[in-house]
């Protein structure tokens, strides 16, 4: 009882907050305060609901009026609760962060609208994960897309922002169409729009139909999740959006798609064909690898994070695919392991990506640029921000014992269990995925190293970076909370995994909580395959660190640490002599030039004497493969057709009458025949 009351309060509160924030638009300070206070409270409510669902079982609430599509109901089961909790935690931190972040829009943009949309965005995500009627879901899904669209184009007077937002909107709409078709195909079987009728309906489907629905959902939700090649909106929308919004979008909104994929595949369709899992696995591998490769060469810090989201979604899809493969062979316990790994990565990516986007937002707030090549030296100027960003980067690079490491570890373990699969061909495919994941991990480390190193270390590369100052406290609190959680979730993962098992067990049909966690150790499934103990790693690292520091001071005595110039070979160093971000990633760019397809131009102003160089200009850009070969031609083709069709509107009344004449004669003749 209590849960659904809380749920109603959450929705009502958010909407009310949105309205008040919009009404107070004229008074930005008050509006910001109201909007983000409300969103913090409602996200705490969301968290409370999560906890209650985990302790008391699922919630169901119906809208108190009839609709043509049957009763519009919300259900929160363990799976929904997990995502609700993730969304709420991140929203809470981002809300704190937004108090400070929103102030720099004052007088430039209607802050009230930002606050209002922010609240609607949150509540729509909550409703997306809790809707249990197909039509209601679609409505909430689009509401989520639309509210995020408006948030993306918030800085609409910036060049290119509106275009990016539009691209996002269209992509997500295409996705919605595919999702809707999938639902309706299922409805045609079940005769009810309620999700509870879907699993049985799927049983009655033909193989072909079921596979069609599988693919429709893969495309539909994939577009939102950002799988390659449907990812192109991410690197456009994220840099354009305000950073607090990018944090929410990248960390949790894309996860709603993962939620639905899990729900649709495991709950509705039931995983029966192995090729489904392999398809998802393949999508995941491509997304992870290409995502991280593009992230690595990106100089725009927010674009880089967006590509990293593509990568992490890929990793999540890999885990999901492995779970599906296991499930299709009836290896339920292994499927449970993979599913838990998948959920764990959902959680940890949510934590570190929101942290990183908030960090990037702080940098943007302080320096007004997203371009790494204009940054540098911020570690001294913004010590807290840099420390927090560093924690995020370490998590993203899967450094033990932070949260990113635990999830990656679990995924590796799940994949290593592939020897249990009866089919040899499938067995061989999984090591390939394993290799991909390993390469992805290494490249991710390089990418985040670059992001942190170039942005925060060494000397500032521009005036803005030189004048940067630490951001307001509320922003630090938001980031601090996430940084702490990155560490805690990693170290205390042994306590979190049983909860994830509670989420996954109804889906995969096996619970492994008893064997998975042993005291403070994590022991994945069958036998003594391996174990890891994050808290012990943490303790050992801290203890050894302390010891090293003490002993190295003891041996050889306390010695001075002198501050001096960097060794410069006799030529004074400037910001221009530092290694640039582009330069940093250049070896990899060259190594994988068949992927990046760089376009290099070299221009030199000639001087009569061959020994004197006056001006040289070198540019290197990456070929936007997907835009150039997929989206560009598609759009061009549609426009071409449209242009050809438009010819019919000639403006001549005789032609127009001719159409009626011809149609009439045609129909009469057809009728006669």
């Amino acid at each position: 009882m209590l849960i659904d009351q809380l749920f109603v309060v959450l929705i009502a509160l958010s909407l009310l907050g949105a309205v008040i924030a919009a009404v107070l638009n004229g008074r930005p300070k008050a509006s910001v305060r109201v909007a983000f206070t409300v969103s913090s409270i409602s996200s705490l409510l969301g968290l409370a609901i999560t906890l209650l669902v985990f302790s008391q079982g699922q919630m169901r609430w119906e809208l108190p009026f009839a609709s043509p599509f049957g009763s519009l109901s919300f259900t929160i089961d363990a799976l929904a609760a997990f995502f609700l909790g993730t969304i709420s935690v991140v929203t809470f931190a981002v809300s704190l962060y937004s108090f400070g972040y929103a102030d720099h829009y004052e007088g430039k943009y209607p802050v009230g609208m930002l606050g209002a949309m922010f609240n609607i965005f949150y509540v729509s995500m909550v409703m997306v994960v809790s809707s249990s009627n197909a039509i209601l879901f679609l409505i909430m899904w689009e509401t989520m897309s639309l509210s995020s669209f408006f948030l993306v184009i918030f800085e609409h007077r910036h060049e290119g922002t509106v275009g990016s937002g539009l691209f996002y909107l269209i992509m997500t709409h295409i996705g919605t169409a595919a999702i809707g078709l999938g639902f309706l195909l299922t409805y045609a079987q079940s005769g009810s729009f309620d999700f509870s009728s879907f699993p049985t309906a799927a049983q009655g489907m033909s193989d072909l139909l079921r596979s069609a629905v599988f693919l429709l959902w893969a495309v539909g939700f994939g577009a939102k999740a950002g799988i390659i090649p449907l990812h192109v909106w991410l690197p456009r929308a994220h840099p354009a959006a305000p950073s607090n919004v990018s944090a929410l979008m990248s960390a949790v909104m894309v996860k709603t798609a993962i939620y639905m994929l899990i729900r649709c595949y495991f709950d509705f369709l039931g995983v029966q064909d192995a090729w489904w899992g392999i398809a998802i696995l393949a999508i995941g591998c491509v997304s992870a690898l290409l995502g991280v490769m593009y992230a690595l060469i990106e100089s725009d810090i927010k674009r880089m994070l967006a590509f990293s989201t593509v990568e992490n979604i890929g990793i999540i899809m890999i885990a999901l695919g492995v779970a599906m493969v296991f499930e299709s062979y009836g290896l339920n316990e292994l499927a449970a392991l993979a599913m838990i790994a998948c959920l764990m990565h959902v959680l940890s990516h949510a934590l570190f990506k929101s942290l990183l986007f908030m960090g990037a937002g702080s940098v943007l707030h302080a320096t007004h640029t997203r371009n790494m090549e204009k940054l540098g030296g911020l570690a001294k100027r913004m010590p807290y921000t840099s420390a927090m960003f560093f924690v995020g980067a370490l998590s993203a690079a899967a450094i033990p014992p932070l949260c990113g490491f635990i999830s990656e570890w679990l995924i590796f373990q799940a994949m290593l269990q592939s020897f249990n699969i009866p089919e040899t061909m499938v067995k061989i495919l999984i090591p390939v995925a394993l290799g991909t994941l390993a390469v992805t991990g290494a490249l991710a480390a390089a990418a985040f190293l670059k992001a942190f190193g170039i942005t925060f270390l060494a000397r500032p590369r521009s005036r803005d970076a030189e004048d940067a100052q630490e951001v307001p406290k509320s922003m630090l609190w938001g980031m601090g909370l996430m940084a702490a959680l990155c560490v805690l979730v990693g170290v205390l993962s042994f306590a979190i995994l049983p909860v994830l098992d509670q989420v996954s067990s109804p889906l995969v049909g096996a619970s492994i909580a008893d064997s998975l966690v042993d005291g403070i150790e994590i022991v994945p499934t069958v036998g003594e395959f391996s174990q890891v103990s994050p808290p012990l790693i943490a303790i050992i690292l801290l203890a050894v660190m302390a010891m090293v520091m003490v002993l190295s001071q003891v041996y050889g005595g306390r010695r001075k640490v002198v501050k001096a110039d960097t060794w410069d070979c006799g030529t004074p160093l400037t910001a221009r002599t530092e290694y640039s971000g582009r330069g940093f990633s250049n070896p990899i760019n060259r190594m994988f030039s068949w992927v990046y397809r760089p376009i290099r131009t070299f221009h030199e102003t000639k001087h009569p004497s061959p020994y004197i160089r006056t001006e040289m200009r070198y540019t290197s850009t990456t070929e936007p493969v997907f835009d150039k070969y997929l989206y560009g031609p598609t759009e061009a083709a549609v426009r071409w057709v449209a242009k050809k069709v438009s010819v019919i509107q000639t403006g001549s009344i005789q032609t127009y009458l001719g159409y009626i004449f011809v149609v009439l004669i045609l129909l009469l003749v057809v009728l006669r025949l």
Binding site: L63, F65, A66, S67, P68, L72, I135, L138, I139, M140, W141, E142, T143, L146, I153, H156, R157, V162, G165, L166, L169, I170, H173, I174, A177, G180, L181, L184, L185, Y187, A188, V638, R639, V641, A642, K643, K644, V645, S646, I648, Q649, I653, T655, Y656, L657, Y659, I660, V663, L664, L667, L668, L671
Partner: protein, 487 residues
Amino acid sequence: MIEAALILPAVLAAICILLGRRTRLVEAVSVAGAGSMLVLGLYLVFRVFDQGSLDEGIWYMDQFSGLMMLIIVLIGSLAMVYSVPYMRHELDSGEVNPKKVAYYYGFLFLFIFTMVLVVVSDNLGMVWIAVEATTLVSAFLVGFHNKATSLEATWKYLIICSIGISLALLGTIFIYASSLPILGEGSDLHWTSLMAVADQLDPAFLKIGFVLVLIGYGTKAGLAPMHTWLPDAHSQSPSPVSALLSGVLLNCAMYAVLRYHVLLTHSQLGGGFSSGLLLLFGLLSLGIAAAFIITQKDYKRLLAYSSIEHMGIISIGFGFGGYWGIFGGLLHMLNHSLTKALLFFGAGNVLQKYGTKNISEVRGLVRTMPFTAALLMLGALAITGSPPFSIFTSEIMVLTAGIDQGNILPAISYSLMLVVVFAAFMGHIVKMVFGEPPQGMEKGEISKMGLVPMIALAVMITIMGLFIPDVLADALRDIIALFGGLA
């Protein structure tokens, strides 16, 4: 009772024209008249929805007419209210003189009168007369501005619609002919009497009759490829008139087609023949409209093409048929009217503010007229079928129908085209609403009063997104039963 609903707008028309130059008085009469029309109309509608059909000799109203009546009085009265600030602005800018304004209101009422006549006539011949009358009356409204382009639009409107309507008359004659052997001299071309003997009517006559009626009224309803007059007429007329033309008149013509569709459904032919044709024309309209929406440069024409698209959707809905198809089609008639009226009102504001219809010259609405911008954006999202607005509901119903009836390919092309339309339409509107406004454009709405009907419409389409009042839903189910969709 029904006569009252007919007499009222006619009388109001006369009053407005008689009052002439006393503009304030004319406005007062119009608004008051609109209010009373709304009250009377709604009373009738609820009466019909609640207690079933109303048969008063040559006047007949069932739930279907009720739905149309609802659309007419709702949009009609809101357009009246919106006209007041719109015409004031035109007066102030010297575009028109007070005498013309009086004629404007008079013709507007007359226009509404003819449309009411369409939906309350039992006699199919009478329906024809009324539809032709709508053309003649609205021609003056389309040509109101007396500019070269509006005259051109009017001329095309008159000629093309007249030729179309002549074909409809021919079709009507065939239907009549089919009833003669059965009803003999007693045959009065009344729809109700035809329905009573529907299963005895001769299929050959019905077929050729329906084809002619479909092309004929289809011309008026803006089905492609007979739609060619529509973008001209709808974009050249004053915005409140555009709202009525797009939102109401098209539906009235569609209503006429559908009356015949019902007749055919209940005949020996069954629904297959007529719904096949509806589906064909619907898909064609949707496709052609999509192409023009992509290449459009004029925002009022954009809205006009969107009307063609939506008439296509309605047609597809009835083409798919079945419970969901008919439900969706009927609901879409209402939803499209409400939303399109909102958009045309918004476009009217933009036109008066920016003085251009070119999409490329309108930028930064959200800065210059934030309320209009918000409402326009909302309307654009609604019209392209985004939840949580009402058109989403009806569009998804139509799609459900397609899939449910096994029309998978048409259903998929339908949804593909909707996506294309969404992309193109939003592309235009988003660019107008956001961005940096042109130099020297002052901030401020045209008028507060003009926003009132827009807000009313916005509220309606938002609420209808999730919630359909029981009385309406029940009435719609009755109509579905009429269409034989409750099998």
